[in-house]
């Protein structure tokens, strides 16, 4: 998000505090002073991860601090699940398998590790999928289940339900 705040001591820290209060994880703070700026405001870009549903709380808290929010960027993908696929992954078009998730628009394969033994043998891969919401993740994994069945691959899901 891009923020505008008063250029006075302690303002930046005051703006960052609500972010940790709502359980956020600040990834980057980009702060470039514009030499031509004549007013006493400061523009700051912040990249952060937030628990689902806490964005509205954060916005309210920032407003109370007198911080003006210029822009809130795209929501990042917060849910992550790792699965293992075993089978003839290359022969069954791995890029199509990955694309079936990526093309949903709500989930994507963010990491892929693979081992390839002899050509005729089955290969194994580990896929990390990211999505915005938990429901999106369930949908993405359901798609992967269908693809696995279709391509005769063994899908190993994580035991997620356990608390």
């Amino acid at each position: 998000m891009k923020l505008e705040m008063k250029d006075s001591p302690g303002q930046l820290v005051a703006a960052l505090k609500p972010m940790s209060d709502v359980g956020g994880n600040i990834i980057a703070v980009i702060h470039q002073r514009d030499p031509d700026a004549t007013d006493d405001t400061l523009n700051v870009q912040i990249v952060l991860e937030l628990p689902e549903g806490r964005l509205d709380d954060l916005v309210t808290m920032l407003k109370k601090q007198g911080v003006h929010i210029q822009r809130i960027g795209e929501e990042r993908l917060l849910y992550q699940r790792t699965v293992i696929l075993i089978g003839h992954l290359m022969h069954t078009d791995l890029s199509d398998t990955v694309d079936r998730i990526d093309s949903t628009g709500f989930a994507e394969v963010s990491e892929l590790s693979m081992s390839m033994p002899a050509v005729t043998e089955r290969s194994s891969s580990r896929l990390t999928i990211k999505s915005v919401t938990k429901d999106d993740m369930e949908d993405a994994v359901a798609i992967l289940r269908t693809v696995a069945k279709e391509k005769d691959l063994l899908l190993i899901e994580p035991l997620e339900e356990i608390l």
Binding site: T82, V83, I84, I86, G87, S113, S115, P117, R122, S123, S124, S125, R126, L154, I156, E157, P158, L159, E161, I162, L163
Partner: protein
């Protein structure tokens, strides 16, 4: 208390031996294996019968069948330790029905009848005012049904997760620890006596699925059957897959899972964090129950073995003795 034992395989012999060795006030008045039987209202000399079985392969008189013992011997509870047939439940199912109709309590280690005909058997037992107990069918020595029925009475059971097949768990442990292929680990399991010549019943997850069906029927009375279980075995797992899980501080285990609210009833290899209490080594079994009040409870123990299974059977027997037969 007087009991009749049907079946004198590894489990039956374990039960007979423990009854003979321990002073539990249990008298065996009838005993039958697949070929012969014996009846003695005064109490059978178990050491002598076990010796005879060892020498000749028969426990008694070839003219006395298991059904004769069930019909004619004087006993309070029938111990059915006949082998499991997942398709028909026989011969155990017939034996158990006969005994219930004669108003005898039932203790069984046979998964077939319970998985196939739980509702009918439960109804029949209630009608005849007898106990139907089957602690030994799931998790070997683990007192899962005592825990569910008594310790956790009053709790709503939300979900159950289990490592219910020791053969699969042994194979997966060896693959994870030593980087063995599935075939190598299976061969080792056979050499150790953990796997049958035809391992499909274990490695395709059928055994675990049957146990899951028994758990689900007991907990929720939902009448689910073996065919309702979404089942995937471990026979297609690769050492590479185990390594890929390992890199994330996880491993792969065959997990049986039932969550009625989500409509889940499945047995499949799953990626699981190594710190999860369900990750047990070798042939051990583990069961996690999730409830509204107690939250999570995990029981770990030996899932098979002659004496271990006898522990579960004796637990059931003594429960029946205290509750129904004689209060001493």
């Amino acid at each position: 208390m007087k009991v009749a034992i049907i079946g004198l395989g590894s489990v039956g012999r374990g039960v007979a031996e423990m009854i003979a060795k321990k002073d539990l006030g249990i008298r065996v008045t009838g005993l039958a294996d697949s070929k012969s039987g014996c009846i003695d209202p005064a109490g059978i000399d178990l050491f002598r019968v076990l010796e005879k079985k060892k020498k000749s392969g028969c426990c008694g008189d070839k003219n006395i069948s298991a059904l004769d013992v069930i019909r004619k011997a004087p006993y309070d509870a029938l111990i059915d330790v006949t082998p499991t047939n997942a398709m028909t439940g026989e011969p155990g199912l017939g034996y158990v029905m006969q005994a219930i109709k004669k108003k005898k309590h039932i203790v069984t280690s046979n998964k077939g009848p319970i998985a196939l005909a739980y509702k009918e058997l439960r109804a029949l037992a209630e009608k005849n005012g007898v106990a139907l107990r089957y602690e030994a069918t799931v998790g070997g020595a683990i007192p899962i049904f005592h825990t569910l029925g008594h310790g956790l009475a009053g709790n709503e059971i939300l979900a159950v997760f289990g490592v219910l097949n020791g053969t699969c768990n042994y194979i997966l442990t060896r693959m994870a620890d030593e980087g063995l292929t599935y075939e190598q680990a299976l061969l080792e399991a056979r050499e150790m006596g953990y796997a049958e010549a035809d391992p499909s019943y274990d490695v395709e997850g059928i055994d675990a699925a049957i146990k899951l069906v028994i758990l689900a029927n007991t907990i929720w009375g939902n009448g689910v059957k073996l065919d309702d279980v979404d089942r995937t075995g471990i026979n297609l797992l690769t050492p590479d897959a185990m390594r890929l899980a390992e890199e994330e501080d996880c491993t792969v285990r065959l997990i049986a899972e039932a969550i009625p609210k989500k409509g889940f009833l499945r047995v499949a290899p799953r990626i699981i964090e190594k710190s999860n209490p369900l990750v047990v080594d070798g042939t051990l079994n583990a069961i996690t129950i999730e409830t509204d009040m107690a939250k999570e409870i995990t029981l770990i123990g030996r899932g098979a073995g002659s004496i271990e299974t006898a522990s579960a059977i004796l637990g059931d027997l003594l429960f029946i003795r205290d509750r129904y037969v004689e209060r001493s």
